[in-house]
């Protein structure tokens, strides 16, 4: 019945035309009160550009206040607006920010600001279908803002009495010629209608959310938000409020998780429930909220538990990660920031691609001269990127200085930090980030507990577009192998950030299976690394650097019928050497903490050569079932696989011992069959 009640609304949402809104290429909103920020989204919304999934197009809508001037100013400079809309209470100095071009100022006290925004953006000639009203709570207001923006109608958020705001909305609706007033909240429709004498419709917050999802039915992107982060004591960050322009730009479905309006649901529970309802098949999931609003699962260290440690450490692990090592089958990212101001700038960067130009890759590896094995793998990652035509600047050990970090960090689109978890930004013994803004870069912090620190927040505040890192301790070999697999997925697979994260996770999970087959008992350390990495950023984001066709051909795989061929090219990347370790790897090849000793003619050990691994992923047709089996004329200890029934992706890892000889070219043949 509920769905039926929504039909007229959905028909109207589907038929909206491009109405006028703010004629601006930047909207600056002072403060983050829902009654100020959310009406600005509705007022800024225009028809989506053709060929996109978006449900509305908004110029960058940036919230700011004192303390945010430097980073806001940097973004304003990058946008270089010709026309800006300034929304603020009267006591905010007009010259607090330097804004080029024309500025339209909407200045009013909180009681009148929502109405002032609507009146500045809409006129009777715009013919908005409705005027939307929301209760003050974030759950109602976020859903109302998304719906109002989708149909390009004004929104008022109650600052005090809902009745008074609805009355103002009715007056506005009459003036604009809007057909109705839609109230999102828990109030009595009949009483409101009789009081106002206007056509009023009331939607409960959950019905408003359902209407939003029905408007984007079939989308592959789900945005999970925790409105509980917008109220309460102790400086709630209000990140949920800034989710609206992201949801609209992605054409994503919106759902609530966490406490309060989230009903205590976890991201996994919410996603599975919506898929079961047929809302979409969510290959991309974005969580908007820090780990207080959308908690991470806390688990005991899998390795320590297995070893019988009496009080094992407790770690946080990201959502959609399986403790038993089942494959990662969604591209997941989190938008977490210190506050709504940082997030509003971040969303603007993500959606509009604004930011200072930067290109190329910066690699800082083994700054503390402790992780030689990881450094060896990292050197092959640099070579992989160079092979794909990317300018790479790599620094190791003592080359990594305070001055070098300050000079290099703002210049690169992809930064790969590998090694001891020294803060790039702040700490007792910190290596400092520069005080100047960063480009919209991806910063990969490959080390222990790198997401449990200040760095990701500070990097996002200053302009980074994505940060990857860990919530627990990882060994350098597993960590560097993960980073290499991530890069490979982007270089050779064209993966987005979230897809590359899933692929790299699956590489380590396949490695776990290979280690088991080879009789290694330390596989849980690799599993721990597979569980630990997380992405803060848009899971749909393309690689931050552009790749050319690789100079040397990469490892490839092809499925024909039930024959899976893995082609290993002859040409390898330059030999990587660090301390006693060396690695020779083909483009697209993989490495881990598996090595052989190198002996001289007298049998004396003179070094360690990393074993070359090959990792490929192929889609399998339904006919192979949900537990396909691989067979090959090679020892069982030389290959292993995992399979995701959801994505039907087979992830295969092969040890170099399957080759006729190490380093030779070959085409390895596997047969795939259903189980049983």
């Amino acid at each position: 019945m509920r769905a039926l009640r929504l039909v007229p609304l959905l028909l109207l949402l589907a038929s909206v035309d491009a109405f006028a809104a703010f004629d601006a290429d930047l909207v600056l909103v002072y403060g983050s009160k829902p009654a100020r920020l959310l009406p600005a989204y509705a007022a800024a919304a225009q028809a989506p550009q053709k060929g996109t999934d978006a449900t509305a197009w908004l110029p960058p809508v940036v919230a700011w206040r004192e303390g945010e001037e430097a980073w806001t100013q940097a973004l304003v400079r990058a946008i270089a607006p010709k026309k800006t809309v300034w929304i603020a209470p009267p006591d905010v100095p007009a010259d607090a920010l330097e804004i080029p071009g024309r500025v339209q100022r909407i200045v009013a006290g909180d009681a009148d600001l929502g109405l002032a925004i609507a009146e500045a953006a809409f006129s009777p000639s715009d013919k908005p279908r409705a005027v939307w009203v929301s209760e003050a709570d974030a759950a109602s207001a976020i859903a109302a803002a998304a719906l109002a923006a989708t149909e390009r109608s004004p929104l008022l958020v109650a600052n005090g009495s809902l009745e008074a705001t609805t009355h103002a909305a009715a007056t506005l609706a009459e003036r604009l010629g809007a057909k109705e007033v839609v109230v999102v909240g828990r109030t009595d429709q009949g009483r409101l209608a009789s009081q106002l004498g206007a056509k009023v419709r009331v939607l409960a917050p959950e019905d408003a959310l359902r209407a939003q999802r029905n408007a984007v039915r079939g989308t592959d992107h789900l945005v999970l938000v925790a409105p509980a982060d917008a109220k309460g004591p102790f400086s709630p960050p209000r990140l949920s409020l800034a989710s609206v322009p992201y949801v609209l730009a992605k054409g994503a479905a919106l759902a609530y998780v966490g406490e309060g309006a989230g009903g205590g649901r976890t991201p996994e529970e919410a996603t599975v429930a919506l898929e079961a309802e047929g809302v979409g098949r969510f290959d991309f999931v974005t969580l908007v909220g820090d780990w207080l609003a959308i908690p991470l699962r806390e688990v005991q260290d899998v390795d320590q538990v297995a070893r019988g440690v009496e009080t094992p450490r407790v770690h946080k692990i990201p959502p959609f990660v399986d403790l038993e090592g089942r494959p990662s089958d969604r591209a997941v990212g989190r938008l977490a920031a210190l506050d709504v101001y940082d997030l509003s700038r971040w969303v603007a960067r993500i959606v509009h691609g604004v930011g200072d130009d930067a290109d190329g890759v910066l690699v800082f590896a083994n700054a503390h001269d402790k992780f030689i094995l990881g450094e060896t793998i990292s050197r092959t990652t640099s070579a992989e990127l160079a092979n794909a035509g990317v300018p790479v600047r790599s620094f190791y050990r003592g080359e990594i200085t305070r001055e070098r970090i300050e000079a290099e960090l703002p210049r690169h689109a992809l930064v790969l930090w590998e090694g001891h978890p020294t803060d790039l930004t702040l700490g007792d013994d910190a290596l400092p980030a520069p005080q100047r803004p960063l480009p919209p870069s991806t910063v990969f912090l490959q080390g222990c507990y790198t997401m449990d620190r200040a760095d990701p927040f500070v990097l996002v505040e200053r302009g980074a577009n994505a940060v990857l890192g860990t919530y627990m301790a990882v060994y350098s070999s597993s960590g560097s192998a993960f980073a290499r697999a991530y890069v490979n997925a982007q270089v050779h697979g064209g993966a987005t950030a979230g897809q590359a994260l899933a692929s790299a996770r699956n590489y380590l999970l396949a490695l776990v299976e290979l280690k088991k087959r080879r009789g290694f008992t330390d596989w849980r350390k690799t599993l721990r690394a597979a569980l630990s990495f997380d992405l803060w950023g848009d899971p749909e984001a393309q690689a931050p650097v552009s790749f050319r066709r690789p100079k040397q051909s990469p490892v490839t795989a092809r499925l024909q019928g039930n024959r899976l061929s893995v082609r290993i090219p002859a040409g390898a990347l330059p030999l990587a050497e660090a301390g006693p370790y060396q690695a020779s790897v083909r483009p697209g090849g993989a490495l881990a903490g598996l090595y052989n000793f190198i002996e001289d003619e007298n049998g004396k050990v003179v070094g360690r050569r990393l074993s070359e691994l090959f990792f490929v992923e192929v889609r399998l047709p339904e006919s192979f079932g949900d537990a396909p089996v691989l067979e090959a004329p090679y020892p069982a200890s030389t290959y292993a696989w995992i399979f995701s029934p959801r994505t039907r992706t087979l992830s295969l890892i092969v040890h170099e011992e399957a080759l006729p000889a190490p380093g030779t070219a070959a085409t390895l043949q596997f047969t795939v069959r259903p189980a049983g």
Binding site: G67, P233, S235, D290, W291, L292, D339, G427, D428
Partner: protein, 305 residues
């Protein structure tokens, strides 16, 4: 800048010579039971600056007058540096500059102060849930060392305060104070930054002060670290820190590391407040400074602005 407070600075570049050595050194001096209520001290700060050819810029804090302390007289000898006096965020600052500065120079700041003991009845302040007024935001916003918006910090105070709030205790000052006192192990060489202290569970005295100020900001109480000197300590360890919290429009002193709740003994002299280094510097190759504290023989009248 208040010219009246800096009568001797009108003659910039002129060195004023004080009888600085007033006998016994003050090292390790402790106020005993017979210690006077008011302390009067003559203080000299010598800053040694070395340049490498860049344009040098220094911000030197000048002693403020407030309810706790009164500036009697002061002089600044900058020896070839240009100087401008400004007031920023309530701090009196000497902006000292020199184009293309090379070599070594010494800047000397001398002053005489009267310092009173401060003891304030601390009112109860409820944890704030609303957006703060604009005028307080300067002392509420997160800064480099006071990362009050960090989820690590919020997680710490939310979990600590939850049962107290549920029991009806919403005194923000007491919650933040008790959290610092019970949630962190004091350690002389512990962490001085709030995030590292929160990760490790131990904090140096400076870390305790920053934690207290940070938790207050998270709770919606305007708070700021105070940079000052301990007039009673040894020469090399005079620099110290405590916290001021704004309650009902009044800044009240606290020191979480010393257990000082709404009080400040006269041995502590304030120089500046806010999350800032003692001396802001740019274009300087190296900088060092030392303090000398002595008892003046004769104290002139206090100069009020």
């Amino acid at each position: 800048m208040s010219g009246a407070r800096l009568p001797l600075l009108a003659a910039l570049g002129v060195a004023f010579v004080f009888a600085l050595d007033q006998g016994a050194a003050q090292s390790g001096e402790r106020p005993g039971p017979a210690a006077p209520k008011e302390w009067v001290r003559k203080v000299r700060l010598s800053v040694r600056v070395e340049g490498d050819g860049r344009d040098a810029y220094l911000e030197l804090p000048l002693v403020p007058t407030d309810a706790h302390q009164a500036l009697v007289e002061e002089s600044l000898e900058t020896r070839g540096f240009a100087v401008e006096f400004v007031e920023r965020e309530g701090n009196r600052l000497a902006i000292v500059t020199h184009p293309a500065f090379e070599g070594k120079k010494r800047i000397t700041y001398e002053f005489t102060v009267k310092v009173q003991p401060t003891r304030v009845e601390v009112p109860r302040v409820p944890v704030a849930a609303d957006e703060p007024p604009r005028e307080d935001w300067l002392w509420l916003r997160p800064t480099k060392q006071l990362q009050s918006a960090s989820p690590l910090i919020r997680e710490k105070i939310v979990s600590f305060a939850r049962p107290r709030l549920a029991a009806g205790d919403d005194d923000a000052l007491r919650i933040a104070w008790d959290l610092v006192q019970t949630g962190y192990r004091p350690k002389a060489d512990g962490s001085r930054t709030v995030l590292k202290a929160t990760r490790t569970g131990h904090a140096a005295p400076r870390g305790q002060e920053r934690l207290f100020a940070t938790f207050l900001r998270t709770s919606g109480v305007p708070a700021r670290p105070v940079l000052g000197i301990d007039l009673a300590r040894k020469v090399r360890t005079r620099s110290t820190m405590w916290v001021e919290a704004k309650v009902d429009g009044t800044w009240i002193p606290f020191s979480a590391s010393r257990g000082l709740w709404g009080e400040l003994p006269p041995r502590f002299l304030k120089l500046a407040h806010g999350d800032r280094p003692f001396i802001v510097r740019e274009g300087i190759a190296s900088l060092s400074y030392r303090w000398k504290v002595s008892r003046p023989e004769e104290v002139p009248e206090v100069v009020e602005p």
